[in-house]
Symmetry: C3
Amino acid sequence: MMPSGPQRIALITDFGPGPYVGQVTLRLSALVPDVPVFDLISDLTPFQPDLAAYLIPALVRDVPSETLFLCVVDPGVGGKRSALALEADGNWFVGPDNGLLAVVARRATAARVLRVGWRPAWISDSFHGRDLFAPIAARLCLGQELSAQVLDPSELVGWDYPPDLARVVYVDRYGNLVSGWRAAGVDRRARLRTDARDLPYARTFCEVPAGEGFWYEDAFGLVEVAINQGRADLTLGLKVGDDLGPPSP
Amino acid sequence: MMPSGPQRIALITDFGPGPYVGQVTLRLSALVPDVPVFDLISDLTPFQPDLAAYLIPALVRDVPSETLFLCVVDPGVGGKRSALALEADGNWFVGPDNGLLAVVARRATAARVLRVGWRPAWISDSFHGRDLFAPIAARLCLGQELSAQVLDPSELVGWDYPPDLARVVYVDRYGNLVSGWRAAGVDRRARLRTDARDLPYARTFCEVPAGEGFWYEDAFGLVEVAINQGRADLTLGLKVGDDLGPPSP
Amino acid sequence: MMPSGPQRIALITDFGPGPYVGQVTLRLSALVPDVPVFDLISDLTPFQPDLAAYLIPALVRDVPSETLFLCVVDPGVGGKRSALALEADGNWFVGPDNGLLAVVARRATAARVLRVGWRPAWISDSFHGRDLFAPIAARLCLGQELSAQVLDPSELVGWDYPPDLARVVYVDRYGNLVSGWRAAGVDRRARLRTDARDLPYARTFCEVPAGEGFWYEDAFGLVEVAINQGRADLTLGLKVGDDLGPPSP
């Protein structure tokens, strides 16, 4: 099976404020007390694993390797969707087979995808983050059997997603609009057009006057739109899922 | 006195975002550095210990035993209400005597209720979570004296609360409505009637079409109302404290 | 250089919900795995380091000493503002030189202020919390070189701020209004006047009827305005930055 070895677990969820992050963390602390657990992000948009899929590789980029990412945006909980365990470029990912892990698998230099057959003795119908995915993560940490079946990555839900996504995939606390488009290859002279404004590139906030909008390469490596000392979401009237970019000449 | 032995502390509060969870956690980390502290829930509704009382036993059900639950919804802070320490079925609870711990005490197979007389040298008038209950929790972990008086459980504020509560006790991040009614004994053919809709039972989300409402046994073991891929709170116009259920024939 | 020795790191930021607290925590856990990291506060108001400056010494007052406070409200990220490391009364502070650390430095009995010249090999343009200040904090914990220059405290941005600030510097989860004015010297017979109401002092919530407003010495040691079992922010129409107090005869 997969080699044991995760040094830490990072949670990537849509659980929001409330008890679900705490419940999963407490469950993990009982199953693998020596593995530290971190809440990396808990405000992903519910019901949209296809958008969160583009944020996950960006979130993972700057986390130390040998991390297990427990990923849950799971509107199909309790139904027929499979449970996945993925090993990719020195990290592990556990989550539902609903597109959420498709982009990180697609971009990996080397990925091994497993459909997990193991199930715990009891499981609720509505909280597989706590009752299924957390125990699977713990078993991976402990090197225990998962009754897993190796999948060809092309069997993953979402394997046919486009390589980059010109939509808002996350709105952060400042109202900045994070797109699913990697910024590395984008010409800095290009402009990003929205219904409300035609935005130039700037390296960072303090290069534009207060109240001005711009696009930039954010700390995830993605194209992001911001208003210096303002809220881009409100000013531009955009929300998660709306079209955004890519910047073009 | 009570045997020492909590392996971890879990916080159950209405502290919300902001500094209060962090302040309590830092205080505990100084007092009992070897006891891990978890933020289990921090968005309980302020001023309503009588509603949170029904969520606490449900929250506790799936947490590993030998946990000390530090429970704070405390509108009477600085007044005459007592401080309680409760030992119930292998766990410990610390909090104000305002109804918050009444249901968990009532449902326990074996409960020992103490009114705590011990006070720290200094205490603020408005933040007993940090200045009184956290130090009491630490002393329990360390097996130190609490100048405690054993109470007959029937002396607890809230001992006369009904065994289950047909009201909304919590609205989660998805807009789902959690009631104070245990689902175990409820006939699955029963319907839950609200002003807006007459809701059938479903085992889980993916058994109903998107936009449809239903009631189900949630991962707390409570009757919960949801709209598949929608927000039940907004659709049904219900909020914490409103009547909800129980489902009936 | 500065003596090594922080026993823990506490984060004081405007990062809000979302991934930034988790990203900084994961970065620190890789750099200094033996130093526990706490999220003390993450909902400071963005773009207003001059207001947060008055909350920081109040937040720090009740945290165990030998703590390193990583402080980030940083609208000038990516620009010319310096990075500071401050040693004050047994604690350490790391953050931008934009006023955020001015009040804690000013009030310290003994403060040593360093402008940090060291930079990591790579750094993003928009997330110095993760890419600059967290690594500086880690180097301080490890006693490593920071290419630092000792500053006269009077060179700090914000050194000329008033000793106390009669404005709202934070609104908490209950809608209470925290001012930047220390309560210790204020006559309890004084009244605090707002456009909407003329508020008396009360020791704590349960000394006034439900719905009544009052000012009190809060658990930070600051003048705070509350409505018993209500929201002062909504009732009085006040928000962060608005004038508030001090109470006067």
